[in-house]
Symmetry: C2
Subunit: 363 residues, 2 copies
């Protein structure tokens, strides 16, 4: 199997040992004579998986019993609808911070439920920074923020002190660093970046916030229904949840969030030092808001694009083409990406500068 | 690996060759150097999976371009909400046939959208038969039926001629037999019985039925949004969809619905012949409505339960404990269950009768 440095923005790289164990479970799980895919989700084998996964989320985040953890299908996009359905109280509004495409989608869905107040936005500069210094209206139902923006390469490096419950879409930087998670009322994350494969979405919610809207809603959209069903109101996405469990176990075994934060800081420092030093590259967003998960960057000489593409492809690098809204490049450095892969990219950038910085090359 | 005869009601048995190929894809897919779980869903490898899966559904069912196929997350339970959201026209009602727990849940969700008319029900006899001879109101938006009822072991062996679009929950007998699928306006099915693993739900819809309600709804609940996104409006459940593709390819390779119908008839005949002959067992529902997917049965001498349980367990049989609502046993015989497994169960039943029919045994 050839070596690939997988910088994909998501679904994204997973630890090799997670893949190995998952591959085995597809053939046979727990010496049962059956694949994990063939087992009843009501059998003890999968109930154990679900319970361990739910408990491990709280353990890794240091959260107590006032929080409930759910693993649902439908993707984070479904949470754009579920959050206002469950939390937006009639007669009140919901406050949203708009930091890009995903926040905009969350706002769009919330408007179907009630009054939405976009209290801050970085749309004026193509979402290239994180808005700061805004006032959070104390009479809103909740504040919704997006901690990391994959497309624009921005990330919140601190979180606002809020007089109202904070809801955070952490899809693209969940489990990447230490955070005081108890500051949040609800956190959701599609699993397919830092915590597994596509098909499962994690929701952590402070239970005391629920049941206050009096709104009738579909059972599948109702957090309280899922909590009552112990995250198995209906058949859950069994295999994606198992991948999340394995990924969390890998994280815990290696030292949890303290460890991964250190690793991610090393990777980011190595990459950003080179980005800032190298004359042929430039970042796309405000330095203080740069994402450690999804650095985005451009060539200073766009005519060299083909030459650069050739070089990184030859080095076994994959998935660094930028999103069409921003162009250029995006080197996603999720938890499972090794420092070695970042070194490989940095070496290519250095080599590229050496070869082309002074040359009058056209593509 | 020990041999298990897996009669689970779902998630359920899958073909061994599907599991083998899926297991490999978890390590590396298409010689890419990457796991299928690590790949962008927007890359050509997965787009090919999605397109092949969507096309194969129509090919196996003999449906034309007036139908759209979607693979969504969220489970069939989400369809209980999506169907009325997309099809129930204001001022009209929706007609439902109540054949058990799943139909009842579909009815409950539809009532949140509009007027629901339960035009037939078998609740009077604990859902042990399929209602017939009911009149379908021509002015309703649609008729909703459930083709197979896992809990009660009943199945529709013919479908009503309807003046209005028929919506069918085929979660537990999809792809098990030839049906004139063009009689349906919408068919949905959770994948985890006959077409894969938990986490993906297939929806087939006649596109001309959509866009008529004027109802505002969440993007994730809107079939037209998913159609426009070619079943990738958001990140789809990648791996469960791949399992569905492999399962459909296995079906096609072996002869499609003509072949599997023959196999399923053989299995059902073998089992029901024994059930009707054996003095120690009795079925739980009307003979003409018995499900070929989920035969349900009871001991005529309930005091022999422990002895029977011991015998089938020793024969390597798994998953035949009945649902708590019906009690007794349920031997689910989905597509991937072999005739050999049914023979094993029938042999145990024969042996059990031989040993206990005349004995005055108490457990």
């Amino acid at each position: 199997m050839k070596k690939v440095h997988n910088f994909s923005a998501g679904p994204a790289i997973l630890p090799a040992e997670v893949l190995k164990e998952a591959s085995q479970a597809v053939i046979e799980f727990n010496n049962s004579g059956m694949s994990l895919l063939e087992m009843s989700h009501r059998g003890k084998d999968f109930i154990n998986v679900m319970e361990e996964a739910r408990a491990l989320v709280k353990e890794l985040m240091g959260l107590g019993n006032d929080y409930q953890v759910l693993f649902l299908g439908g993707g984070a996009s479904m949470q754009f609808a579920m959050v206002p359905s469950n939390l937006l109280i009639a007669g009140k509004s919901a406050a949203y911070v708009n930091t890009g495409v995903w926040a905009s989608k969350a706002i769009k869905e919330a408007k179907l439920v009630g009054d939405v107040n976009v209290i801050a936005s970085s749309e004026d500069k193509k979402f290239s920074y994180i808005p700061k210094g805004y006032t959070i209206p104390a009479d809103s139902s909740y504040l919704h923020i997006t901690s990391n923006n994959t497309i624009y390469g921005t990330q919140m490096h601190s979180f606002p002190d809020s007089p109202i419950p904070v809801v955070c879409d952490m899809s693209s930087d969940i489990f990447s660093r230490r955070v005081d998670f108890s500051k949040f009322g609800l956190i959701y994350a599609g699993a397919q970046k830092n915590m597994g494969a596509a098909g499962a979405t994690m929701v952590i919610v402070k239970e005391s916030l629920l049941g206050k809207t009096g709104r009738k809603m579909f059972s599948m959209l109702d957090y309280q229904v899922h909590i009552k069903g112990e995250s198995m109101f209906n058949t859950p996405p069994v295999f994606p949840i198992y991948i999340s469990l394995l990924t969390m176990k890998w994280l815990k075994k290696n030292g949890g969030l303290t460890w991964i934060e250190k690793v991610n800081n090393e990777k980011a420092e190595l990459f950003f030092n080179e980005l800032d030093r190298n004359s042929l590259f430039t970042g796309t967003c405000a330095k203080e808001d740069r994402s450690k998960m999804n650095p985005t960057f451009l060539l200073t000489k766009p005519e060299l694009e083909e030459s650069f593409n050739k070089m990184w492809k030859e080095a076994g690098i994959d998935g660094i083409k930028g999103h069409r809204d921003v162009g250029g490049y995006r080197a996603s450095m999720y938890n499972a990406l090794t420092l070695d892969s970042v070194k490989t990219l940095v070496d290519v950038m250095k080599e590229f500068e050496k070869k082309y910085a002074d040359a009058k090359v056209t593509a």
